[in-house]
Structure formats: structure tokens, C-alpha cells
Symmetry: C2
Amino acid sequence: MKVSVGISNRHVHLTEDDFKILFGNDAIMEIDRPVNQPGQYASKQRVTIQTTKNKYENVRILGPARSYTQVEISKTDAYFLGVNPPVRTSGDLTGASPVKIIGPKGEIDREAAIIADRHIHIDHETRVTLGLENVQEVSVRIVGEKGGILDHVMLKESNPAYYEMHLDTDDANAHLLKNNDEVEIIIK
Amino acid sequence: MKVSVGISNRHVHLTEDDFKILFGNDAIMEIDRPVNQPGQYASKQRVTIQTTKNKYENVRILGPARSYTQVEISKTDAYFLGVNPPVRTSGDLTGASPVKIIGPKGEIDREAAIIADRHIHIDHETRVTLGLENVQEVSVRIVGEKGGILDHVMLKESNPAYYEMHLDTDDANAHLLKNNDEVEIIIK
């Protein structure tokens, strides 16, 4: 059972209201390029993520607007920024780290930074076909010079969904994975 | 069977001759603090690692001088620098990536950048005690929210040795490991 890899660099999701604070009341999110998940896209707009220790400029917004504002970073990013974010499923901001998000028209302080959990996007039909209906999480085996096994890869069903595994840059780089590489699913 | 973790940030080993080019003929490597491996230390001197794409300043030299000049970086560092180094055991510079190393008195261009393999330093007695005499490589199991298994962890015997596993920052951060964390050895 195989799944292809999609690597998530640090990025931001914004609510409609927060987007307007950062880019102005009349601004709209502009599509730069669609990403694999249906309806989602990398926007042309970028923001700065700032902490008391450091900042990242030109961080991508992933559109469209959501019901929560969230900053997804890796542990490597977290050390650079001097924050200690929890590992969370997207949308769960319990204990998320405080960061300042800066746009051309305004800035906001939000407890919004998380390390996204490893997860696989999957639609119901694919889940049934692969026998994963009652499975919450899997592991994946990576072959190669820096291969190994990643545990706690959550199955995230949505309909529609593009079937792929999302990893952050730490997980990808530690195992020398590139976008669209295929890895093997293991049910423990 | 457990082993503790030592995390290697990007660093440089220098030959005596290269050290003198970078820091001057009269310079000596000054000990900032000893590291766990017997006789080795982080030096006070720092260098800049530069490529056509980017640079890292204040990169540590690990002393004492060696018979080869080597720059150990992570895959994340490699993307930043725009190089594609191979995974290598320390001292094997086959196919190593070209970088410029800059010191206060001079600079050198060397095909010296590698991604160090995952490895465990071990002395002969510990190897015998643990039943690892005829084992070349092991895997290690990491427990936690971003746990998993790291394959291809090479056993590197030296006498004396401080028994510990060296990982780069990508491997450590991907699995949320900190210095001195303990992980479990698996023989496959």
C-alpha cells in the first residue's frame, strides 16, 4: 500500500477578518498556483512571521480563508523563532505558540503556531478500497540511505480529497524525501 | 539496549594546513568546551561557509585538526546553500560538494561538504558487552509524538569512545529529540 509525499514548507492559514487586517478591507486572496488538495491554493500574498527572537519573511498564505488563523512551522523553524509549539492536527490550536503576523496594511498577534502532525489526506472511497475504514493512524516505511519508519501518521478523511501524505520539511529532509516520492503504508 | 543522543549542528573539521591558511601561521586551535568524544572539542574559532547561493556565518570548528577538511551539514542546510552533498561516513569525501570556507586571515575552496551518516560511537568493550561485535549497522526506535525508526545507523568503533549516537539536526528535529535523550537499538 503506497502513498505519495507532499512536503509542507512553513505557511499560514488566515481567517477572512485577519486577512483584511493584514492586507486591507478591499483585498482579496489571489491564487498563485493550486495545490493538490481540491479547492486549495498557494496565494500570491506573503506575510512576515515575527517573534521576540527572530522572523521569517515572505511566508506563504494557503487559501482560501479558513475559520481559524494558524501558522504551521517545523521544529527547526521553532528553534529559529525561539518558540515551543505543540504537535497538532490542523485546526486544533490548544497550546499554540504566540507569534506576530505582519502584512502590508497591518499586523496581528495570535497564539497560532503549531507543528502540524504527519497526516494522509484520503477520501472515503480510497479508504474503503485500501481497507483503512477503521484505522485512525498508520506508519510509513521509507527506503533509502536515510530511510526508516515514521509513526503516528494520521488519516484525515475529506470528500473530495487528493490522496497524499503531508510531511513538514524536517521529516522530509531527515529522510531525503522529495515531493511525489512514494512510501509504503504500514498498519501497526 | 539503549543509547543516548548527541545532536550535531553544522560544523567543520580542518587540516592543520587549512587551519593556518584561515587563521594565520601562528594561530592555534583554542578549546571552547570539550565534547563527549575523548580528546575532541568545540573550538573558539568560527568560519563562514559560503556557496554561490548563500552562506552560514559563525560555523564551529571541531578540534583537534584532522587529516582531512570536511564540512558537515544537514539536508536543510544543503537546500539553503544550494548544494547536493552525499551521505557519507566522516572522512569519506567521495563526491562531496564544493564550498568556500572563510576565516579571518584567508579562505579556501574545498570539495568538502557531506551529510554525515547516522552513527553510534562505541568502544570495543561496550560492543562486546552489548553483543554488537559482528554488527555493522543498527536501527533505533524513537518513542513520542513524532516517533519512528531510524535505519542505517552505523557502528563506529574507536578506543576509547564515549558511547552515544550522533544525529544531525534534521533527524533530531523531525523526531523532537534533544541531547541526551535515550533511544532503543534494534538489530534488523
